[in-house]
């Protein structure tokens, strides 16, 4: 008895010479098996032509440009995100939908929508400018690091608003790249540890960080230098 896996492995050329001969021997005495092999060979043949047209299409210039871009020019942003709109707005809208931002007026809030996306302002901007990791306050800093463009980035938490995010220095401002809701821990309270970042923020950090996080000395020096 030849298993379905073996039939496919035969069709895909994954069997050894001896194993393939055994399948072929079985096919001579089992027409149903021979037919099954034939069907799968035809499927393999037809599937090989699937999406083949795209191979001969000219590659869009933006993809060529992305591949040729010098690493230092790269900005860690998602192409899909650009097309479908900034995720931070979605996160904010999600927060609104969940009532997390209830009674919290966006125009005077911690972020404002600018030409290049969301920008930190008010208490958040001041904290990003001046706070070091583990400093107390309504806005707490998590990890500071540099992205692929050598810009400084920092994760932050705003416990009252139950929001956390990631902002990077861009043209002298803090561009908010990611904003996510902080979910209450099992105890019902918000976990206060700096490491308690929502997965979305951790993932963004992981993707954008080049090198190691800044230690306290480096962070202090970066602050003194205006995060340039």
């Amino acid at each position: 008895m030849i298993s379905k896996e073996t039939v496919l492995a035969y069709v895909d050329g994954e069997l050894s010479h001896e194993e393939a001969l055994a399948v072929e021997a079985a096919m001579t005495s089992d027409p149903a098996l021979a037919e099954e092999v034939a069907r799968h060979l035809q499927l393999r043949d037809a599937a090989g032509g699937a999406f083949a047209a795209v191979l001969t299409e000219p590659v869009p210039e933006r993809l060529l440009a992305a591949a040729r871009e010098a690493p230092s020019e790269r900005v860690a942003r998602s192409a899909l995100v650009r097309r479908f709109g900034p995720p931070h707005w979605a996160a904010m809208a999600a927060c609104l939908a969940l009532g997390v931002l209830a009674g919290y007026a966006i125009p005077s809030g911690p972020v404002v929508s600018g030409a290049g996306g969301l920008q930190a302002r008010g208490a958040l901007a001041r904290a990003l400018d001046g706070k070091l990791a583990a400093d107390e306050g309504p806005v707490r800093m998590g990890v500071s690091f540099r992205d692929a463009g050598r810009a400084y980035c920092r994760t932050f938490r705003m416990d009252r608003e139950a929001l956390a995010g990631l902002a990077c220095r861009e043209d002298g401002r803090w561009a908010v790249r990611t904003l996510a809701e902080v979910r209450p821990q099992a105890g019902g309270d918000y976990q206060m540890a700096g490491s308690a970042m929502p997965p979305a923020v951790l993932a963004a950090m992981d993707q954008m960080m080049v090198g190691d996080p800044l230690d306290r000395t480096e962070e202090t020096a970066a602050r003194a230098g205006g995060w340039k």
Binding site: A47, L80, A203
Partner: protein, 166 residues
């Protein structure tokens, strides 16, 4: 442009093809390619010279797609879902039979669950070995082969239902 980037540029047509298997529209597929290229450039140092760049980039693309679809699902909770129009190629009557078959296989592939779709595409369209495909998907060989069996039998069954047995 360095050697790595030149090799990546040469891979772009195949990356676009694999992206078509994942994404529902050509525009989404190209966005996924761009994201994949950006991620690959950010992780150049993780690629081992002498190993297959295509498998490595397919894996990045697969993971990028998973991340994006998760993010998309979250966004869809808030925003109206985008139109879920199934992408079917322009099927002119003048097209040759062979092309029709490929279009039908594309359509049936699109109906497969994502895990089966990826397994089938990597082996049948991209021509990867089982070992390479399992590495791209980061699953054991047994998982890959069972996805291949289920996915391909499903495609054959649906083609037969549609009156186009192969």
């Amino acid at each position: 442009m360095n050697a790595f980037q030149r090799e990546m540029v040469e891979l772009l047509p195949r990356l676009r093809r694999f992206a078509r298997v994942l994404a529902r529209t050509p525009a989404d597929a190209d966005d996924l390619v761009q994201l994949t290229v950006e991620r690959a450039l950010a992780r150049t140092q993780q690629w081992t010279v002498g190993t297959r760049l295509d498998s490595w980039m397919f894996r990045i693309m697969k993971n990028a797609w998973i991340d994006e679809t998760r993010a998309r699902r979250r966004r869809d909770l808030v925003f109206a879902p985008e139109e879920a129009g199934e992408h079917v190629g322009d099927e002119g009557a003048a097209r040759v039979e062979r092309r029709l078959e490929a279009v039908e296989v594309e359509r049936e592939l699109a109906r497969l669950p994502e895990d089966q779709r990826l397994a089938v595409a990597l082996v049948l369209i991209e021509g990867l070995s089982y070992r390479e495909a399992a590495d791209v998907l980061e699953v054991p060989m047994g998982t890959l082969t069972s996805r291949l069996v289920r996915g391909r039998n499903q495609v054959l069954a649906r083609l037969a239902e549609a009156g186009r047995p192969v």
